[in-house]
């Protein structure tokens, strides 16, 4: 066995233990432990990704000394390693971009707690990405929920506590359904490891036995994870949670937490239920339909919104709808488009949140559109970054959003039944996206009388912030320009799933 194969285990343990150690460290040390840990995990994942590309097939890693049907396992393929790397990049950029704001908004005693929560968040995300055991996945889903709740409520005001309560209630409903689904699946098959369950489920599907219980199980797990990742009718908690928490939390929550659940769902579809059985059930059409509704209603709510951060939050609802639409198409191409959109949305939405905070800061802290007029002249870097993010979300070529829309459209053409609704809604949603994002961009670039350019906001006093924004823009353009290798990798990773 190569030494590199230990890296997933190291990454999970490293992030978890840095969380534990940080609880006794002072603020500065906790910050450094967090930064170093994320960079280390990122390097591990990067090496692992190249190792996996060279290796060409996936491997399982035994946790403890019990072999397959009894013990716990980690499973690694190209997609898992790539996702881990991507999560690390987004996480560190989000933390850097919001660091100044973090120092202002949090009480002094809460800082090290914030980094503990970020460490735990990363470790649970990595575990969700790598695990091959359903019950382990459930436990880490709960850890993820608790860490996310902490990240929301750490900035103390009435809104965040209310948002955290609403988030917890929806999350708990989702994880209750997920747990019930896992228990029923365990009853039907007698296994908890994904590969063993998959064999049994295929056998059940062939023999036609337990058809209804199997369907109920699939429904429970899909709906549970859909609730947790804020698919359209279950998104009520989202605008408050993203809109009022501190900016790093909003970026992490929107770009990583919901993506972790969606990635788990994709894993369950491929590795537990099997794509054929999942295609054969009606659940896939339900995901497709709710995805389409989310794309439209999320955008409509965003247009009505008068608060820039809540608008970005509502736009997340629409983008999550895109991802579920891709999953709901039930083709390989649709799934590839969904995974690519996970990357696109994560890179763009965190950029938008962090750019928006720069704009509101120079507008007297107000988030109303009327006060944002001309904000891009007062903070040029944030203005450019916000424009890039908006163009990417709308789907202008050169940026990543264009590629994911292209992939969705290509995938839709392959599915004759779902082609028409998918293409129509894709078109409508793009227009709606353009309305609210372009409205904002025009607003921030409308000059107002009496404001000098860039007063007080220079490159010097916000170096880290500007570097973060530039990194985000590069990431976006990279995904948009050299998309083919990324898409190939995603295809290779999905092929390794089965």
């Amino acid at each position: 066995m190569d030494f590199v194969q230990n890296f997933p285990f190291f990454s999970i343990i490293l992030s978890m233990f840095s969380g534990i150690i940080s609880s006794v460290l002072p603020k500065r040390a906790a910050k450094w432990v967090n930064t170093v840990m994320i960079i280390l995990v990122g390097i591990f994942s990067f090496i692992l990704l190249f190792y996996m590309i060279g290796r060409g097939n996936s491997y399982t890693y035994m946790m403890g000394h019990f072999p397959a049907p009894w013990g716990n396992e980690i499973r690694v393929g190209v997609l898992e390693a790539g996702m881990a790397l991507f999560f690390c990049i987004i996480m560190i950029l989000s933390l850097f971009g919001g660091r100044k704001k973090l120092d202002e908004e949090l009480e002094e005693s809460k800082h090290s707690l914030y980094y503990i929560l970020a460490d735990l968040m990363l470790s649970s995300l990595l575990a969700l990405v790598y695990t091959n055991d359903l019950f382990t996945a459930y436990v880490f889903v709960e850890i993820n929920t608790i860490a996310a709740c902490g990240l929301i409520m750490i900035r103390r005001n009435g809104r965040t506590i209310e948002a955290a309560v609403r988030y917890m209630i929806m999350s708990l409903l989702g994880s209750g359904m997920l747990l019930m689904g896992i228990c029923m699946l365990y009853d039907l098959t007698g296994h908890l490891l994904m590969s063993n369950i998959h064999e049994q489920v295929s056998a059940l599907a062939v023999s036609g036995e337990y058809h209804v219980p199997l369907l109920v199980t699939i429904a429970l797990m899909s709906v549970g994870l859909a609730i947790k990742s804020a698919l359209f009718p279950f998104h009520a908690w989202l605008p408050d949670a993203y809109g009022y928490s501190t900016v790093s939390s909003a970026a992490i929550l929107s770009s990583l937490v919901s993506k972790g659940y969606i990635f788990l769902l994709i894993k369950i579809i491929y590795r537990v239920i099997g794509i054929d059985v999942f295609d054969g059930s009606r659940i896939i059409d339900m995901l497709f339909a709710f995805g389409l509704m989310g794309m439209i209603f999320g955008s409509l709510s965003a247009i009505k919104e008068n608060d820039v951060r809540r608008m970005i939050a509502y736009s997340s609802v629409a983008q999550i709808g895109y991802i579920y639409m891709g999953i709901g198409m039930g083709t390989q191409a649709g799934m590839e488009a969904s995974v690519f959109h996970i990357l696109t949305h994560a890179a763009t939405k965190s950029l938008l949140f962090i750019a928006a905070i720069g704009l509101t800061d120079v507008s007297g802290g107000s988030r109303k559109f009327i006060d944002l007029t001309g904000a891009a002249y007062r903070n040029r870097w944030a203005g450019v970054a916000f424009a890039v993010g908006s163009l990417s979300m709308v789907g202008v070529p050169l940026f990543s959003g264009f590629i994911s829309k292209l992939l969705f459209a290509q995938a839709a053409v392959q599915n004759h039944v779902k082609m028409l609704p998918a293409l129509i809604v894709l078109g409508i949603s793009t227009v709606l996206n353009a309305i609210y994002f372009m409205k904002t961009v025009i607003r921030i670039y409308t000059p107002v009388e009496g404001t000098g350019s860039g007063e007080g906001v220079t490159f010097k006093n916000m170096k880290i912030y500007v570097v973060t924004l530039v990194c985000f823009i590069i990431l976006n353009v990279f995904l948009g320009v050299s998309s083919q290798p990324v898409v190939n990798l995603i295809g290779q990773g999905l092929a390794m799933f089965s």
């Binding site: 409520m153 917890m168 708990l172």
Partner: protein, 124 residues
């Protein structure tokens, strides 16, 4: 159908409890009642697992008197899952209760809708 239901009455009860808990968590306005609903829902899952994991006539998997026959004992994994699940649900309930205390101290009410209305009035 009816015979199956009677034979598996434990699972049926667990399902009914799950739905009761779920609906309470979803629809109650009072936060404490919501948390009670959450606990009913989680307990229902554990009841389901325990009921499924038990086989009539077998005992707990602790080797006594040197009997190592597989037929004597039940599978310990469902019980282990129940224990893990209980730990998770205890910590989640604790978190929910602490959040409830914070909200109550701030707004002197446990009604989530009323809190939302007040927040909107504050215009925060």
């Amino acid at each position: 159908m009816g015979a199956n239901l009677i034979a598996n009455y434990g699972e049926a009860v667990a399902m009914v409890l799950f739905v009761i808990g779920f609906m309470n968590l979803l629809l109650q306005k009072n936060l404490i009642k919501k948390i009670i609903g959450l606990n009913i829902m989680d307990s229902a899952v554990y009841l389901f697992l325990a009921e499924k994991g038990y086989i009539n006539g077998r005992t707990v998997p602790i080797v006594v008197n040197g009997i190592q026959d597989v037929e004597t004992y039940i599978n310990p994994i469902p019980s282990g899952l129940v224990l893990t699940g209980i730990v998770v649900s205890v910590s989640v309930s604790a978190l929910m209760l602490s959040l409830t205390i914070r909200l109550y101290k701030r707004y002197q009410t446990l009604d989530l809708d009323e809190i939302s209305i007040r927040l909107r009035k504050e215009g925060l």
